[in-house]
């Protein structure tokens, strides 16, 4: 037998026994059933309730508000003296709150597209503003070099470059290896095996390794910068810096931008070397080529301009990743969720920007260098 009962007698619902949260679901359903045809007046009688907790009282108050909204007058009656403070505290004996305004329907498809475009416009404006601030801060740095936290540059380079070496070596080696395997069958068909060095050498130095290294850096450093600065922002550390008269731009952003601008070409150069070695492994063990033949052909095929254009790209990528990571971090608001959202945005924006920038570099180099 349940420790409680609810029965309706005319315009009165009599609640008996212990009305506690463990039975709240059953109590709620029973009361809903008993009030389907409430009539003009209906009282909730607590005279026989031996115990009642806040959760059940909340439900009684909600039921009373529902009934009043449906045109039925309703009161909680008969509560014993010791229950009255709780009934009063829960507002179950007060006038029910006014009905909340109807919820606005969720925006339609076109409105959502419009809101998305507006958000993108805001983001672009913020990005441009941030860039302007960075340029202005550069002038401040020239005038007052002490405003930059130079000591942190080394640490950032270490985290972005040195700590990233294992993953860059592994992935870039595999890039060279895969390109060689994908092209070896076609080259063998035409008896042009030696040109595998051309294929690997030119594609990795000009295009693939700068791009792959930048993608790795977006995931590691871009995300890290956004999360670090975002956390500092919500913990009010950025505000503290500002109130100490230290601009976060030279103090926090510049060292990171500088670090990634140095780290990116270093990692790219390392990636070029290991990718070429990955290609060499396939050429020597998968084809009838000697390592001497592979590297001789490589020397003839790969020009110095192939390498430096890749390195110039990587400088641009490093700068962009640091810039976007810092901008997203400093734009963080709210709580931990905001940090997560901005970190994700930073990585997505970095990847988007890298591909755009790569396209621009390729077109410019094609026009300038032929």
């Amino acid at each position: 037998m349940t420790p409680w009962q609810a029965t309706r007698e005319g315009n009165r619902i009599i609640l008996v026994g212990e009305l506690l949260i463990d039975d709240a679901t059953a109590i709620w359903r029973t009361l809903q059933r008993l009030t389907r045809a409430p009539g003009k007046h209906l009282d909730l009688d607590l005279g026989h309730a031996s115990a009642i907790d806040g959760a059940v009282l909340s439900l009684l108050a909600a039921l009373r508000a529902q009934l009043i909204a449906r045109g039925t007058s309703c009161e909680l009656v008969g509560a014993r003296d010791e229950l009255r403070p709780l009934v009063h505290l829960q507002g179950a004996d007060a006038a029910p709150p006014p009905r909340p305004p109807p919820r606005t329907p969720p925006p339609g498809g076109i409105a959502r597209i419009g809101a998305g475009i507006e958000r993108m416009a805001h983001e672009t404006r913020d990005l441009i503003g941030f860039f302007g601030e960075l340029v202005a801060s550069s002038w401040q740095v020239v005038r007052r070099p002490r405003t930059v936290n130079w000591r942190s540059v080394g640490g950032h380079i270490e985290r972005a470059a040195a700590d990233g070496i294992p993953i860059v070596v592994l992935l870039d080696f595999l890039v060279g290896f895969v390109i060689a395997i994908q092209t070896m069958y076609v080259l063998e068909l035409y008896g042009a095996e030696v040109f595998i060095a051309d294929m690997v050498g030119i594609s990795v130095t000009r295009e693939l390794i700068p791009l792959m290294t930048a993608i790795i850096m977006s995931g590691r450093s871009g995300a890290a910068f956004a999360a670090e600065l975002g956390t500092m922002r919500i913990d009010q550390e950025i505000d503290a810096l500002r109130t100490m008269g230290i601009s976060p731009m030279p103090y926090l952003v510049m060292p990171r931008v500088l670090a990634l601008t140095i780290a990116a070409p270093l990692l790219t150069l390392l990636g070029d070397v290991v990718a070429i070695l990955g290609g060499a492994l396939v050429a020597v063990h998968g084809m009838e080529l000697t390592s001497e033949m592979y590297f001789n052909e490589l020397r003839l095929a790969v020009l110095f301009s192939d390498v430096w254009t890749g390195l110039v790209k990587s400088v641009g990528f490093g700068l962009t990743i640091a810039f976007i990571g810092c901008q997203q971090g400093l734009a963080t608001s709210g709580s931990a969720e905001g940090v997560g959202r901005r970190t994700t945005s930073a990585v997505v924006a970095c990847l988007f920007a890298i591909v755009l920038l790569d396209t621009a570099f390729t077109v410019v180099f094609r026009v300038v260098l032929g």
Partner: protein, 250 residues
Amino acid sequence: MSGPVIATRDLAIGWSPSELLLEHASFQVERGEVFGILGRSAAGKSTLLRVLIGLESPIAGDLDVLGERPQATIASHKRPSFGVMYQHGALFGALTVGQNVGLPLEVWTDLPADAVRAIARAKLALVGLGDTVDQSPATLSGGMRKRAAIARALALEPPLLFLDEPCSGLDPVTSAEIDHLIATLAHAYGLTIVLVTHERSTIQTIVDRCIVLDRGERRIVAGGVPAELAQHPIPEVRAFFVPAGPLEGE
């Protein structure tokens, strides 16, 4: 259930047996009282609270909270028998304030969504935040977050409530409002409340009985009702119970 709500015997807490914050801590919290854990910064108050709610294990000693060892309750993912309000509220930013309060009900009861919402709204109204149900926690002030966190801690109708620094960082008026709220809840619900604090106004207004921790001594240096402790021979203990102003020795 008869007997004390919380009983500890020779409790030792800290980072390791060689880095203890507190040892030989024995005290009891009786049903329906507002019990204060006092001490200056870094005395181990919050760590003791984390042990009492089961987030950390004691290095040594016995601990009984509502007839159970809280560490075992946490480890077995059982329905909690007490509510906790964290120092900064610890509201989930991805949920609305109402969803934060309704979350324990969604997890631990099979109440339909409209009933959960009704209870959450009522709990928020109880702490004076009835109109914030659909707001994001990010829009709330520090005092409002603490109130919302109290509402969430009350969601499952626990008989015992732990409050970590309920008034820290608040202005005196808001602080007094929170003190009043705690006293009202304790009276109306018959709640047992354990609170960690170093706010003298809170101690003098709502605490029935308390213990005082001392980092240097690594033990409970005093315990009793505030009126008696105001006459304590140790000045650092006495300082908690004198009217607001600089602490003795500061």
